[in-house]
Amino acid sequence: MTVSALADRLPVPVAYDERAARRTLRAQIARLERELAALAPEVSPRDGIRWSIGSEAGPRLLGLGELERIRDDLAERLHEIRETLAARAAREAEQRALLERMLRDPARHRFVRVGAADVGEPGCGVWHVRPRLGLIGMLAGWWHVKLSSGCPLSRVVA
C-alpha cells in the first residue's frame, strides 16, 4: 500500500468547534447552578459554607478556559457542600441516637447534654441528664432527662 493510499484511509481531521464547546460548558454551568440552588435551603449559617467562587472580571464574553474554570469551581463547591451536609446529617443522627439512649436509660448517661441544634432542631433547648432532687437524687440514683426551654435572655454587654 502506498503512502498516499494510506493517507486516504486516515480519518479526516474535524475542525474543533469552540463555540459548541462553550455552549456545552454554559449548559453545564446552568445545571450546576440549579443543583447548588436546590441545596441552599438546607444549609445553615453554622455550616460555614462559602458560596462564592470568585468572578472573571465580567460582564464580558468568556473564553473556553474561563468557562471551564467556573464549571470546575462550581462542581467542586457542590461537592464540598454535599460533603458538609452529609457530615452534618451523620453527626445529627449520632446525636439523635444518643438522645434516645439518654431517654431510655438516664442513669447510664449522667450529666450528658444534647442541644437542639445538635440534632438539627430549631431553638436553643438542651436535653440534660440530671439527678432528681439534687444531691439526694444523685446518691439514690434517681436520674432523669430535663429539657431546658427557650434561648438565653439577651443581656446588655458591658
Binding site: 462553550r22 454554559r26 447552578e33 441552599a40 467562587i53 460582564p59 464580558r60 464574553l61 468568556l62
Partner: protein
C-alpha cells in the same frame, strides 16, 4: 406611552449568548419625586409578603435562577455581585422593609419584586437612538459626564449611538440618569435565557403603571 421595543444586540454577542437582549419602554416622566400613599402602601404590602423564607428560596425560582445563570455566563459571581432581586431581598431583610426612596425608585423596586426582572431608568432625551448591547472597545467612557468610568475592552455594555451608557446589569452613567428636568423616561430591562418575554414586558408595564 409607547409599547415595549427590542433593542439591538451586536452580532458577536448574539452568536454567543443568543437569548440576551434589551427591551425598552418610553413614557412621560412622572411629576413630583415623592411617592403617593398608594405606592408606599404597595411597598409595605410587598414587605409583608416577602420574608426571610422567601429570600432563602429565591434562587430556586425560575427568573432569579435565570439571572444567576446569566451572571455566571458573563463572568460575574452572583454571590459577590448580587442579582438585583437578591440584592433587593437582602436590603428588605436588613432594613426591615422596602423603604420608599421616591416615586421612580419605588416603581422600579415594585416591578423588580413583583416579577424578578430588573429594570433601569434613563432620561430618554439623553439617549441617542435605540438602546442595544455590544462589547466595549478599548477605553470607552460610560456616559458623557466628566470623570465617568471607563469601560474595559470586551466588557458587555448597554449602549446607544453615542457610546456605552451602562455596564451590563450595572448602574447607568450619571449623565443619562433622570433628573428634575427630565420630561420622558426610557425604561429598559435586560432579558436573558430562561425569562419569558411576557415577564419582561410585565415588569415594564408594572413600572409604568406605578409611575402612572
Amino acid at each position: 406611552m409607547s409599547t415595549p421595543e427590542d433593542g439591538w444586540v451586536a452580532e458577536d454577542l448574539r452568536a454567543e449568548l443568543p437569548r440576551l437582549g434589551v427591551v425598552t419602554l418610553t413614557l412621560p416622566a412622572p411629576r413630583g419625586g415623592r411617592s403617593p400613599q398608594g405606592v408606599r402602601d404597595h411597598l409595605d404590602m410587598l414587605s409583608v409578603r416577602f420574608r426571610g423564607a422567601d429570600a432563602l428560596a429565591l434562587r430556586q425560582r425560575p427568573i432569579p435562577h435565570a439571572y444567576r445563570v446569566c451572571f455566571r455566563h458573563v463572568g460575574l459571581d452572583p454571590d459577590t455581585t448580587r442579582v438585583p432581586i437578591e440584592a433587593a431581598a437582602i436590603e428588605r431583610l436588613v432594613q426591615g422593609g422596602f423603604v420608599s426612596r421616591g416615586l421612580l425608585v419605588d416603581a422600579l423596586t415594585i416591578a423588580l419584586v413583583e416579577t424578578g426582572v430588573p429594570l433601569w431608568a434613563l432620561d430618554a432625551d439623553a439617549v441617542d437612538g435605540p438602546l442595544g448591547l455590544r462589547l466595549a472597545t478599548a477605553e470607552e467612557d460610560l456616559g458623557a459626564a466628566s470623570g465617568a468610568r471607563t469601560a474595559s475592552a470586551g466588557e458587555i455594555v448597554v449602549a446607544d449611538a453615542n457610546g456605552p451608557i451602562a455596564p451590563l446589569f450595572g448602574e447607568p452613567a450619571a449623565s443619562h440618569l433622570p433628573s428634575s428636568g427630565t420630561t420622558r423616561l426610557l425604561l429598559f430591562a435586560v432579558s436573558v435565557a430562561g425569562v419569558p418575554r411576557l415577564d419582561v414586558e410585565e415588569a415594564l408595564w408594572q413600572c409604568a403603571e406605578v409611575l402612572g
